[in-house]
Structures are given as structure tokens and as C-alpha cells.
């Protein structure tokens, strides 16, 4: 699997007086096994960009290639492609609609034209993967807690067996435990199924903890594409100017350094922070 985004730009209200550029000449590559964090302020173009990745928005400039095929070609089968790139929207639980949890998850695979038994097998597997107990299968999805509803919604996408999974702020509005459950679920999907993940997030602490590489968007442009460690260690002031921040642990390291204490500038997780502080005290 490879997904190549090549000089993609997108304008809202193109060729009108209201024209505004939402995505500005963005290029990057998604490969097997990657865990990519995508951060940027509201309005920086993150959601517009990810909607390109499964063909919900057609590219106006540039190309997107999936396994070597240009998805904008007129003979490219976009319908089949959309089931291969799973996109979990913000507040995906708003899209639950069936009478019970199991039918809701069946909806996607059934539309792929699979046999009934295959549909049900996939729904079962997906619900098991996200950790929904058997006794909840025939409950109304609306009786579940916020975190559970969201996991059911994610199961609906997983049942399509996507080859890439994109999640647009999957933890927004959840309590700390719900947040941890969703994030460890995403990590599990990544590790066990080897599905590349793109995680759109507002939490620097979360991307520091989970992402292997980090994309930073600002004003429609992709400004950084590096490991979270390098981005946070080298671009703290720039990130703050963009209305973003660095993880709390990294901020502490910077504060210590300002006081002349030799703290590592690239410690970003709690674990690294603990090690760094113990080293300083030694």
C-alpha cells in the first residue's frame, strides 16, 4: 500500500470573488505501517486535506496516487477506493442510525455487495476489535456511553476492511478514560493489523505519545513533516506563533533549559521526562 499526495491545492469557491485557498501545495507520502499525526489550528486545512485522501473532495490541482494509480483519473473506481481508505469523521457517533449496534456496523459492508454471512462475520470481527461486549450487540447504539458509541462508529469503518485508516479528531469531547480507550484501540489496530494510521489531533500530548511522524499544517500549507521529537524540539517558537503548542513535558524541558539546566530539548513523553529529570538530579 502506498498513498502519495503530490502538490495538492484546493480552493473554496474557486474562480469567484469569494475564492479562498484551503490547501496550498501539499505533498507527502503514506506507507505501510506508518503512524502519522496531523496537527494544525482550526481552519488550517486539515479536514479539507484528509477528505481528499479518500476522494470525497476532488483534487483541483496536483495528484493523489493510491498504489500507483491516480485517483483523479476518469476511469479510476472511486467507489471501491473509498472502502479501502477508511475515514472516521469528527463526532462519528452522530452518524449512527440503526436500531441496534450490530445492524449499524453491518451497513457499510452490506453496501459493498458482500454475502450476508460475510457481512455479519466482518461486523462481528470489527465489534470485537473495538472491544464491544456481545451483550451490547442488540442494544440501541443510542443507549451506549459516548466512548462506546464512538467505538461502534469506528467499527463501522473497520468492517469495510480499509487499507488506511484516517481519524479526524477521534477523541474530541470524550473524558480522559474514553480518550485513552480510543487511542489505545488505534494503536492496537496499527500494531496488529499493520494498517497505516493518520491521526488528526489537537492534543500535542497525544501525538507525542502515539505518532511516529508528524505533519504540521498552517494556513493550508504543510509546514513540517518530521518525527514529533524533532518538530517539538526545533520549532517551539514557530508552533506557538501558529497558535499551537508543544507537549507539557517538552515545555518543562524548555523552561529548565532557560534556567541553564542541561535538560534534553527532545524529551516529549512522560516517560522521557521522568528519565531526563532523574538524569539531571543524579
Amino acid at each position: 500500500m502506498s498513498l502519495i499526495v503530490n502538490h495538492v491545492s484546493y480552493y473554496y469557491n474557486r474562480n469567484t470573488a469569494m475564492q479562498s485557498k484551503a490547501v496550498d501545495d501539499v505533498s507527502f507520502v503514506v506507507q505501510d505501517g506508518e503512524f502519522i499525526g496531523l496537527i494544525g489550528q482550526t481552519g488550517s486545512g486539515k479536514s479539507t486535506l484528509v477528505q481528499h485522501l479518500n476522494g470525497l473532495i476532488k483534487t483541483q490541482e496536483g495528484q493523489i496516487c493510491f498504489n500507483g494509480e491516480d485517483i483523479t483519473d476518469s476511469d479510476f473506481d472511486l467507489r471501491a477506493f473509498r472502502s479501502r481508505v477508511g475515514l472516521v469523521f469528527q463526532y462519528p457517533e452522530h452518524q449512527l442510525f440503526e436500531e441496534d449496534v450490530f445492524s449499524d456496523v453491518c451497513f457499510g459492508p452490506r453496501n459493498l455487495g458482500l454475502t450476508k454471512s460475510e457481512v455479519e462475520l466482518r461486523a462481528y470481527e470489527a465489534l470485537k476489535q473495538v472491544g464491544i461486549a456481545d451483550e451490547s450487540f442488540y442494544q440501541s447504539p443510542f443507549d451506549l456511553s459516548g466512548g462506546e458509541k464512538r467505538r461502534v462508529a469506528i467499527a463501522g469503518v473497520l468492517a469495510m476492511k480499509p487499507e488506511v485508516l484516517i481519524l479526524d479528531e477521534p477523541t474530541a469531547g470524550l473524558d480522559p478514560r474514553g480518550r485513552d480507550e480510543i487511542l489505545s484501540l488505534i494503536r492496537k489496530l496499527h500494531d496488529q493489523n499493520n494498517i497505516p494510521i493518520i491521526l488528526v489531533s489537537h492534543s500535542m500530548d497525544d501525538v507525542a505519545e502515539y505518532a511516529v511522524s508528524l505533519l504540521v499544517m498552517h494556513d493550508g500549507k504543510l509546514v513540517y513533516d518530521d518525527s514529533p521529537r524533532n518538530v517539538f524540539a526545533e520549532h517551539r517558537t514557530e508552533l506557538e506563533e501558529m497558535g499551537l503548542s508543544v507537549p507539557e513535558v517538552n515545555k518543562i524541558m524548555h523552561l529548565l533549559r532557560e534556567k541553564g539546566i542541561p535538560a534534553p530539548a527532545d524529551a516529549i513523553t512522560i516517560k522521557e521526562g521522568v528519565e531526563a529529570c532523574l538524569e539531571i538530579l543524579r
Partner: protein, 283 residues
Amino acid sequence: MAIIKAKNLGYEYFRRDKEGAVEGIVKALDDINLNIKQGDFVAILGHNGSGKSTLAKHMNAILYPSEGTIWVDGKDTQDAGNMWDIRQTTGMVFQNPDNQIIGTVVEEDVGFGPENMGVETKEIWERVKESLKIVGMYSYRKNAPSKLSGGQKQRVAIAGVVAMHPKCIVLDEPTAMLDPVGRREVIRAVRALNDVENITVILITHYMEEVIYANKVYVMDRGNIVMEGTPREVFSHVEELAKIRLSVPQATKLAYELKKAGVPLPDGILSAEEFTEALCRLL
């Protein structure tokens, strides 16, 4: 004097199946005792389903207790004659900014509340101006709310409540749907209400970083208040908080992990700055 006082407050509701038959009884609040004074900044923490919002709805007579009593500014909420007074005493701000704005122009939206209260036109305009200034949205007064960001919309919603001159504002997860910048803007506005206007603020949230400005924190779990105290006191119980599905600010967590490793840091560190100072003192 207490602006909100609850004694042995309990609330139960029936859980019903599809046909409307009663399946069971859910106890959403259980023996809650509160004493919130005029001018306090109180935070209520708890995971989803812990009863925070149910409690909030009792503070403005949207829900009535099944057991015990709650008094708002000395008035019992169960007494139907007090309802309008109570709703003017406590204003509510909810999670989703889009559900709370009805006007097509910011200043009209803010004027809606006082207009319904029968305030004179001249005074309505004064209140609108003053409330928008408090939340830092005065320069947007002629804008359409639909063109504002989430944080800005939420501040307009707060101004709409402030314009009704409540003694107390209850904010039920006002920042849950906002990005970090919007969250900061809203929290700044909320602090100004408390510091400058001396309005009692009751902030319901599960963002721990927002709680550190409060002078009292209540932690809820399964309909009960399980912890109360200053943020510093509450956040020194890292393990207990984790047990009831809550976490502490990152700086507190880092300090806690270091203490476990034998570093003598003080209890209740809340911010990166405090952590840095405390660590420097050890060198």
C-alpha cells in the same frame, strides 16, 4: 451567604425500553451536599455519566430533586413560584455553541435574554455592550454568529447569559467541542466574569488544566461527590483519580512519577512553571 446549597440531594429516573415500559431505576445523584458561596469559582470534575450535568440542571430548576433539597440564593427549587427567580439567578451555558445562538447578528443574540425579561430598550443596549466587552467580543457585535469560530460563538453565548445579570453562571463543559485556542479564550472570559464581575462560576469540565483556576473542586463519581478541596489538594490524589477514570495535568503526572522514583518533590504541583521551580530547588 450560600448562593447554592444542597442537602442530601438525590435524583432518580426510570429507564424505559422501546415500548416505554420501565426497565429499572437509575440513581443519577445520591446524597449530594454542597455549599457554594457568592463569588466562588467552583469546578466540578467527573467522567461521562458521573452525574455532573444532572447536578447542574438542578441548579437552575430544569430538574427537581427526588430526595433532599437544593436552594438557589435561599430559594427552594421545588417551589414552583420560585422558578423564574431561580432561572434569573443562575444562567446556564451548554456544550455545543451552535445550539445556543438564535440571533442573526451577535448583538441581537446577546439582547434576546434581557428583552424577554422586559428590560427597557436603552438598558438592553447598555447590557449588550457591557457583556460583550467582558467576554472580549465587542468588536464583533455587528457580525453574523455563523461566521464566528467555536470559541467566539461560545463567548457570545456566555455574553447572552451575562446580559441577564445572573448572580451565578453554570457552564456545562463549555469547551468540550473547541480547539485549544478556543478553549483558552473561553476560560479567560470565564475567569474575567469571576474576577472582575464577581459572578459565581460553576465550571463543569473534564479538562484538568481548566480546573487549576478554581478555588474549590468537587469530584463526582456515580452520582456521589467523592472528593472536594482546592485543586492542589485534589490533584495530589493521583491514584484515586485514575481509579474513577480521571487524570491529572501532565506536570502533576510527571511530578508524581518522579516521586514514585524517590525524588522529594512537593505535593500538588499543577503547572509546568511550578514543576520547573520545584525541581530547581532540589539542585
